[in-house]
């Protein structure tokens, strides 16, 4: 560390005493336009090749630049356009250039370090870049959904159809069992929290048989708060070879979000109004009883309650209710209003201010997701040396997701429907009251009443803000030294209530009817980072040296109070007869130092990077020890290539990242109570004071090829990721007074392939077709396991149905279940001693493909995205509910439950699917028409009709192959228990730019 410090000081000294002077120079004026249209391009960057000299174009696309004497090459770039080099002979002082659109993203700038980027032409890693256009093609409830099908190597799965999010992103397979398993989100340099907090609905569903919030509460991960419309682009570092710069938070990959900034040029006002609706996209189908005899048979078989027997059947006017349609048939009126102002002042101020008001209704009456967001991104230039920026986003969301997922009280609508024959009327009576469900099998529960009387509001207030400054310490012709400092805060407060009044039938079976849960969380993440970047440009090479520090902390406090025996109408938990309280707190701190060298040479063909990030964290056993995360990479643009191939780049990158332990360091004292006096003794879980981060090393190699004059781009990547020092729970000899301990040990090795093929098969003035196809596959294997094989601690319903299992030599995503019987009994059942425990297959998909096609016919645009997941397994426990006689197809249901009884894994199903994720048709109003609108102030206007998740093709018999009863979990997320059904979303968008 001392060495790094002295290095930093010497860089500072260099900056202080460096003199600045230009040799002979001249001025060059120019104008940059868009190819084909002659429209001026503002904010394009102009630089003199081989120097640090540069400037930007103004509103009219014009620039003036001081250029060294003699011939020079000007490099002209702008985000979204292909770079262009213009030769300026010694005597020329006026130039004109036009740029073409970079539809295949051949030349975006990709992240290489905390403070540095490189053009994707030279990048040594496969970094997926998603532009705002690609991201927001079809409106979405949350950001994660908008990424589905667009990122090769990312498995993005939505946990339930309930409004308001809950989506898991896994990059390049499973990379941890007991440490954190989701990617890191970074917005404008601020590390953003993506934790999931339970609302405590377990108190009424008893899914975890507990009074306290649990993993089965259908939680939402908080990346849902981010407003996708504010995003300029997203870069996805998929593995440690690229994410090494994020040290011990980089193992699971990093999602780097850059929001829109103001830019020079005419101030634009952009307003989009969206209207939409949703409809249930898949139903299970419920049984219709044809005769009283059929009803009697099921009563006799014990499948339905005698209280819902022949008398009720005969008395029913409607003998077959489609409960799914009646209950989930709400077609909500959804809307999003998005407005933004973007521009710059002559005084060097840039601004981007945006607002969002969003309402998404659920399929059930009274379920909804409301979100409002307000963003202000400001930048200010002081002279030529100092730039300051402040970005803030204030978000509020209010969600009511109703009741879904596992339950043990009969409260879940699908549980109720699986125990109530469809001739029972459950809908609201004419007088406003609700009929009591006669079925005691489901606790007399009436979901229609619950939807009216049970409230589950979840309020989130969130502030994400950052301030940054960049100061040019040195700006000479061939070198520059910049200092930048950035601080950010992400703070949110989560307030959830579950109010289940004593008037609900479901409460009346309780000893203390009337339940309230009040859970509150406050989470604060703050980080500060500073860096020095030195760039030296010679004719032979460009060398970029950067070094700096990063510091962050996270404080969290989650409190939940559950009250039982509350009077109807009361929402104060202290009024309860019995109160249960729980609290969890956490503080962690983190500090890192980094240094990196990037070297571009051989006529910009060879790009070499070496860097190291040294870091310590309070989560580690030794909080003062710095752990090093090195990386090396090289890319080479091959000079000798066949004709028709424009560009061929070979790349190889190695990097190491870590995953901090989430606990396990300390031996806590456990509370024991004797005769009402509380005492403490050491917990039987022993602390491991030496606990250290899991380490992930990845080697990634590949090639990028451009052909047909930039009309085709192929990117192929192969990687090997090795996770070592896995944090595991080891059993220890109980005679020591302890039974288990977290240890470091074990290894997972993942191999994978990712391909991206971008094409513009047609590119004419009035007609174009842009196509993007992605392919990704990966398989992770447990190659070392120093503890006995185990079922991971993340939720499952046991091997009778199927669970994840960690065993050396097996895939980490293997699914284990009882499948087979040594000897069947005379009645066709399998005694527990005879059941055969087996590995039934791989729960993860074999491969995933995304097909995106975008057609433009003059003003009309048609775009589609198809997401294909081949292979994979899910466990459809929902079927187990309905196989008791109330499924639509009783023959299939009976066959399945008989097979299950015979010891087969009858509820394990293939979960591969093809989904039409996005479809949109847009129409650009002709300029003539637009100019007639809003007094001619409108620049352009567009109307779009779009849909999300419009169609699904799958063999999976459940509602949706994506669901996860336990929400996000590293392993075994495939449990389908009476989920909230998925919906199709439809939107009409009117977008106007002024």
């Amino acid at each position: 560390m001392h060495k790094i410090r002295s290095f930093l000081y010497s860089l500072l000294l260099l900056a202080l005493f460096g003199t600045s002077a230009f040799a002979q120079s001249r001025r060059v004026n120019g104008r940059v336009t868009m190819e084909g249209s002659n429209e001026p391009l503002a904010s394009a960057s102009i630089s003199v090749a081989g120097t640090t000299l540069g400037t930007y174009t103004d509103e009219q696309g014009r620039f003036t630049l001081t250029v060294p004497a003699g011939p020079a090459t000007l490099r002209i770039r702008r985000i979204g356009y292909t770079q262009r080099n213009i030769e300026v002979p010694a005597g020329t002082s006026e130039v004109a250039a036009s740029l073409t659109r970079d539809v295949l993203q051949l030349e975006t700038q990709v992240v290489t370090g905390t403070a540095t980027t490189v053009s994707s032409v030279n990048a040594a890693n496969s970094v997926t870049v998603i532009s705002t256009e690609n991201l927001n093609r079809v409106p979405t409830q949350t950001l994660d959904n908008a990424l589905q099908g667009k990122v090769p190597g990312a498995t993005i799965t939505q946990n339930s159809g309930a409004p308001g999010g809950g989506t898991q992103i896994q990059l390049r397979g499973v990379s941890s069992i007991n440490a954190s398993f989701g990617p890191l989100y970074v917005i404008d340099g601020v590390i953003v929290d993506n934790s999931s907090i339970a609302n405590g609905i377990t108190a009424i569903t008893q899914s975890a048989r507990s009074n306290f919030p649990s993993a089965q509460d259908q939680r939402v991960n908080r990346s849902a708060d981010i407003n996708p419309n504010d995003i300029e682009n997203i870069q996805i570092l998929k593995g440690p070879s690229a994410s090494s710069i994020y040290g011990s938070r980089g193992t699971n990959g990093v999602i780097i979000i850059t929001t829109k900034q103001g830019r020079a040029g005419k101030t634009t006002l952009d307003i989009s109004q969206r209207f939409g609706t949703a409809a249930i996209s898949n139903k299970l189908g419920l049984r219709c009883f044809g005769s009283a005899a059929e009803v009697q048979a099921e009563v006799d078989a014990g499948h339905i309650d005698a209280a819902t027997g022949v008398d009720e059947f005969n008395a029913a006017t409607n003998k077959c209710h489609d409960y799914e349609q009646e209950f989930y048939g709400e077609n909500p009126f959804n809307y999003q209003t998005i407005a933004s102002v973007r521009g710059a002042s002559n005084a060097g101020t840039t601004f981007f201010v945006s607002g969002l008001v969003q309402h998404d209704g659920g399929l059930v009456r009274n379920d909804f997701y409301n979100k409002q967001s307000l963003r202000a991104n400001l930048g200010q230039q002081f002279g030529t040396r100092l730039t300051l920026r402040a970005n803030t986003e204030l978000i509020h969301s209010l969600t009511q997701r109703g009741v879904s997922g596992n339950d043990n009280t009969g409260i879940n609508p699908y549980t109720t429907f699986s125990g109530t024959p469809s001739f029972i009327e459950l809908r609201r009576n004419a007088d406003g009251s609700f009929p009591k469900n006669p079925s005691t099998f489901v606790g007399n529960n009436n979901p229609f009443q619950n939807a009216e009387v049970i409230k589950t509001p979840e309020n989130v207030y969130r502030l994400i803000g950052s301030a940054s400054g960049q100061y040019s310490l040195l700006a000479r012709e061939r070198q520059s030294l910049d200092f930048s400092l950035r601080g950010g805060v992400d703070s949110y407060s989560f307030q959830a209530k579950v109010i289940s009044p004593a008037t609900a039938f479901i409460e009346q079976v309780n000893a203390l009817p009337g339940t309230i849960v009040n859970s509150q969380a406050n989470v604060l993440s703050a980080n500060l980072g500073g860096s020095l970047t030195h760039r030296m440009i010679t004719n032979a090479f460009t060398a970029t040296t950067s070094a700096g520090f990063g510091q962050s902390r996270r404080n969290s406090d989650v409190v939940a109070n559950t009250g039982r025996g509350v009077f109807p109408g009361v929402t104060n938990v202290s009024a309860a007869t019995q109160i249960f309280t729980t609290e969890g707190q956490g503080i962690n701190k983190f500090f890192s130092l980094f240094a990196q060298e990037e070297f571009l040479t051989l006529g910009e063909r060879l790009f070499l990077t070496a860097g190291v990030n040294a870091e310590r964290s309070s989560n580690n056993g030794d909080a003062k020890k710095m752990y090093a995360y090195p990386k090396f990479s090289a890319s080479y643009r091959v000079p000798f290539i066949p004709t028709r191939i424009d560009e061929l780049k070979l790349r190889l990158a190695y990097g190491r990242a870590g995953n901090q332990p989430q606990g396990g360091k300390y031996t806590f004292l456990s509370t024991l109570i004797e005769e009402g006096v509380s005492g403490f003794r050491a917990s039987t879980v022993k602390g491991f004071p030496e606990i250290k981060p899991e380490t992930a090393s990845e080697i990634e190699g590949g090639l990028d090829l451009t052909s047909f004059g930039g009309r085709l781009r192929l990117s192929a990547t192969q990687f090997r990721k090795q996770i070592d020092n896995l944090i595991l729970q080891a059993s220890i000899a109980p005679s020591t007074g302890f039974t288990s301990q977290s240890i470091n040990g074990g290894q997972i090795v993942t191999h994978g392939t990712e391909l991206e093929l971008g094409m513009t098969p047609i590119q004419m003035e009035r007609f174009s077709w842009v196509s993007n196809t992605t392919y990704a596959s990966n398989k992770g294997k447990v190659t070392r396991l120093p503890v006995p094989p185990f079922i991971p601690i993340s939720g499952s319903f046991g091997s009778r149905f199927g669970n994840a299992f960690v065993q050396q030599g097996q895939l980490i995503t293997v699914l284990q279940a009882i499948n087979g019987c040594k000897a069947l009994s005379s009645t066709g059942s399998c005694a527990s001693a005879n059941r055969i425990l087996a590995f039934v297959g791989n729960s993860a998909p074999d491969y995933q493909m995304g097909f995106s096609n975008d057609f433009t016919f003059g003003p009309i645009r048609l775009a589609s995205l198809v997401d294909w997941r081949k292979g994979g397994l899910g466990i459809n426990l929902t079927n187990a509910y309905f196989d008791g006689g109330l499924g639509a197809d009783t023959a299939v249901g009976n066959a399945r439950s008989n097979s299950f009884r015979a010891g087969n894994a009858a509820y394990v199903e293939p979960s591969g699917f093809v989904k039409l994720r996005e479809l949109t048709v847009g129409f650009e109003l002709p300029a003539g028409l637009t100019s007639g609108m809003f007094n001619g102030r409108a620049q352009s206007a567009r109307i779009e009709l779009s849909g999300r998740n419009l169609a699904t093709w799958t063999k999976y018999t459940g509602l949706d192959p994506e669901v996860s009863n336990f929400g996000n979990q590293p392993l075994g997320r495939f449990q389908d228990v009476t989920p909230y059904p998925p919906s199709r979303l439809f939107y009409l968008t009117i977008n106007t730019t002024f």
Binding site: Y471, G586, S735
Partner: protein, 469 residues
């Protein structure tokens, strides 16, 4: 100037980053590290409660309280959903991986670790918190509790042996044979007694024990009474060391007699009937956040039907046996149960003695029989008999008759109160088909539990290792 201030700021920030204290202490719960800062009276109270509560948890487990009583053929537990209470006791061997073979182990070692942790923290007691006498009293108490838990462990494991914990929490030590373990326990009790001597009899513990230790005729917060508890347990240990079947030490019978006399404060025939139930007890608290019910209060429990026939006419202890609805399963059947096992609110809270004077009187009688002091033995046996409504025996002339008599008294005085009967049957070599019927055709006459699977796994073993002397 601006440039200098920016750089100065940068340097300050980087330096501040390096200086920032990286350690965050957990704030949700205390850790064992909290003890290294020294004990206060409040923390010692909490830790002491931790030890007594854990000891109660270990005692009150089905594995300690119920399984030995089944092995001793006094009790059945018949539960269709848990057939192993029969199949791994009277119907077959216990599986070291199940609760039946693996129980009654971890909980005691956790209690011992808790006591060891406090003993370490007490090595340098804060003089402003505790007087030297109080610190000695506390040490004596925790050593005595450790001895009690080791004794319970060896009651269950017998000749299989058990490991002895050291201060190093990661040390996995050899499995020591019963003879060595008993001698270790005896030494531990003596060192505790030395602590008590150093403290002085009039000293009180620097914390308050649960009311089970104070509400049954003697206040064990007083060192003088803790000495009686300590000596009682020592006498018990020494008696069984004397009777040890692999390495008998007859010289210890007289030592045991002396220690038990010290514990009882009266010689043979001189212990008043009113003193017999005196001793430390476990109290149970059903409901609330504590919710610890007396585990005997259980509808699945019955008594061996032979028990009713064994009760002598006029024995007031016969009231402990009551009729119940027929309990059948696994080849066993009974229509009687312990009065205290009927699931009622009162029984859920019924206390159980840790060691009452009645047991000590009978232990002294056992030691006297072995020491050839049959008159004294008869006097002690008769103390218990007359207190329970029976006529006194004339002085025994036969050792065997005296043993039979004392075993009858112990069986009904201590019925379903721990592993005493199992220990006696083993010690006298009676746990076999010469003395008892086979309860089931496959009855293996289980005498001890194996080393649990978890312990074997951690040692890389699959079967019980030979114990070391």
């Amino acid at each position: 100037m601006k440039r200098y201030s920016t750089i100065a700021l940068a340097v300050v920030l980087i330096a501040a980053g390096c200086k920032d204290n990286p350690i965050t202490n957990p704030i949700d719960a205390p850790t064992v590290d909290a003890l290294s800062g020294g004990l206060t009276r409040i923390s010692l109270q909490q830790l002491a409660t931790g030890v007594t509560a854990q000891d109660r948890a270990a005692f009150g487990s089905l594995a300690y309280l119920v399984l030995p009583a089944i092995y001793a053929r006094d009790v059945y537990r018949i539960d269709a959903s848990e057939p192993r209470f029969v199949s791994e006791t009277l119907g077959g061997n216990p599986d070291p991986g199940s609760f039946a073979g693996g129980g009654g182990f971890t909980d005691f070692f956790v209690a011992i670790r808790s006591a060891n942790t406090i003993l370490l923290a007490l090595e340098k007691p804060d003089a402003t918190q505790f007087s030297a006498a109080e610190a000695n009293a506390a040490r004596g108490f925790f050593r005595t509790m450790k001895a009690l838990d080791y004794y319970r462990l060896i009651e269950l494991r017998d000749t299989v042996g058990i490991p002895i914990q050291t201060d190093d929490p990661s040390a996995v030590t050899d499995i020591r044979c019963k003879t060595a373990v008993l001698s270790f326990i005896a030494a531990l009790l003596d060192s505790a007694n030395a602590d008590f001597s150093a403290a002085g009899g009039s000293t009180a513990l620097p914390f308050t024990l649960p009311t089970g230790f104070t509400g049954f005729g003697r206040d064990y917060n007083q060192v003088s009474n803790l000495v009686r508890f300590n000596r009682g347990l020592k006498g018990k240990v020494n008696f069984y060391r004397g009777l040890d079947r692999t390495a008998p030490q007859p010289a210890l019978f007289q030592t045991a007699i002396n220690e038990l006399t010290q514990a009882l404060g009266a010689g043979p025939g001189a212990v008043p009937a009113s003193q017999l139930p005196v001793g430390p007890y476990y109290r149970f608290v059903p409901g609330g956040s504590e919710d610890f019910k007396n585990p005997r209060s259980d509808s699945k429990i019955g008594l061996n039907p032979l028990l009713r026939d064994s009760v002598q006419a006029g024995d007031t202890r016969g009231a402990k046996i009551v009729s119940r609805s027929t309990l059948t399963g696994g080849g066993l059947s009974t229509t009687i149960t312990l009065a205290g096992a009927v699931p009622t609110a009162a029984n859920e809270a019924l206390p159980i003695p840790i060691m009452k004077d009645e047991e000590l009187v009978l232990l002294r009688a056992q030691a006297e029989i072995e020491a050839g002091q049959l008159a004294a033995a008869t006097a002690d046996i008769n103390t218990v008999r007359t207190a329970n409504g029976l006529a006194p025996h004339p002085v025994f002339t036969s050792k065997t008759a005296a043993i039979n008599a004392v075993l009858y008294e112990k069986r009904f005085s201590l019925l379903f109160e721990g592993a005493q009967r199992l220990v006696d049957l083993r010690a006298y070599g009676r746990l076999n088909s010469n003395f008892f019927r086979r309860e089931l055709p496959t009855d293996p006459f289980n005498a001890a539990m194996p080393i649990p699977r978890g312990e074997l796994n951690a040692r890389g073993l699959t079967t019980n290792p030979a114990c070391t002397a």
